[in-house]
């Protein structure tokens, strides 16, 4: 089973890296970038008997390691 996990900063959390990337894009002539937030993507190959079990397992992975839920949200897609 293939899964993709997205980890993104919660709204309102300062993202100086995103801001710097946004400024660089503006400097390159890409106008109209009103905002940019940097996040992470994890592609995970998982042995699991069914999607429910996989989701439970991925959710635990996110809570315990992949995301810091003080500042980050996560979402899980299963292919």
């Amino acid at each position: 089973m293939k899964a993709r996990v997205f980890v993104t900063l919660k709204p309102g959390v300062l993202d100086p890296q995103g801001a710097a990337i946004g400024a660089a894009l503006g400097g390159m002539g890409f106008d109209g970038v009103a905002g940019i937030r940097q996040g992470k993507v994890f592609d995970i190959e998982l042995d699991a008997p069914d999607e429910t079990t996989a989701r439970e397992s991925l959710d635990a992975m996110c809570r315990r390691l992949l995301a810091n839920t003080v500042i980050e949200d996560y979402s899980i897609e299963i292919a």
Binding site: L14, R64, I71
Partner: protein
């Protein structure tokens, strides 16, 4: 006083920490590898040193916080043991849930490596009782991810409970309320970004870190 220093792959202040502890206590700390599953018996203090554990992959301190020894360190802290985390060690303690909040990329995006003036905010802890409250000291910082952030309730609680141990006198990395170091509720766990262990010898970088180790040693010896 019996101490231990945890060593992760990528730790680089573990030996500085060992020197500082030996100077203050007269005894060498046990150097404990992160894959060990037990701490030595009868410890008074566990120090989690600075460095770049696991290459700062994922988030600084996140992978180290899941090392086998950290379950023991967390249990030691929850049972009232003294735990000191410096720089990457502070990041590890936060990721392990021993201290609240989060340490993010410096707001300037720059690695900051210099001596900075600090105010000792609270002298009411084993670590800071060798200082006067309000005293200004100078310690080196060397970090890329030291911007301390917490929600408003946590920040208010840290302030109300006198758990802010050190504050930067000037903005260094964008930390909320210029927080440089915080204490646990029982005041026995301290996490701080500046390096007291690099300031214990007059031949190198001053001695403003020495009272932390001497104060700790004096209090724990007397206990």
């Amino acid at each position: 006083m019996k101490t231990a220093v945890i060593v992760f792959p990528g730790s680089n202040c573990d030996r500085d920490m060992a020197v500082a502890l030996r100077k203050a206590t007269g005894a060498s700390p046990a150097m404990v590898w992160h894959k060990d599953s037990r701490l030595p018996d009868g410890l008074d203090l566990v120090a989690v040193p600075g460095g770049f554990s696991f290459g700062d992959y994922l988030r600084c301190g996140a992978i180290a916080a899941q090392s086998p020894i950290m379950r023991e360190v967390a249990a030691f802290g929850q049972a009232g043991g003294h735990v000191l985390g410096v720089c990457n060690g502070f990041q590890v303690l936060i990721e392990a849930g021993l201290l609240p909040g989060v340490l993010m990329r410096n707001a300037t995006l720059k690695f900051v490596c210099r001596d900075v003036p600090l105010a000792v905010e609270s002298a009411d802890s084993p670590y800071t009782q060798g200082y006067e409250a309000g005293q200004e000291i100078t310690l080196p910082v060397a970090h890329h991810d030291g911007c301390y952030i917490a929600d408003d309730d946590t920040l208010a609680r840290l302030g109300d409970e006198g758990r802010i141990a050190f504050r930067y006198r000037d903005a260094v990395n964008g930390s909320a309320d210029n927080i440089a170091g915080i204490l646990s509720r029982n005041r026995r766990v301290l996490g701080m970004m500046p390096h007291p262990e690099r300031a214990v010898d007059p031949r190198t970088l001053g001695t403003d870190g020495a009272p932390l180790f001497h104060g700790l040693s004096g209090m724990l010896e007397a206990a």
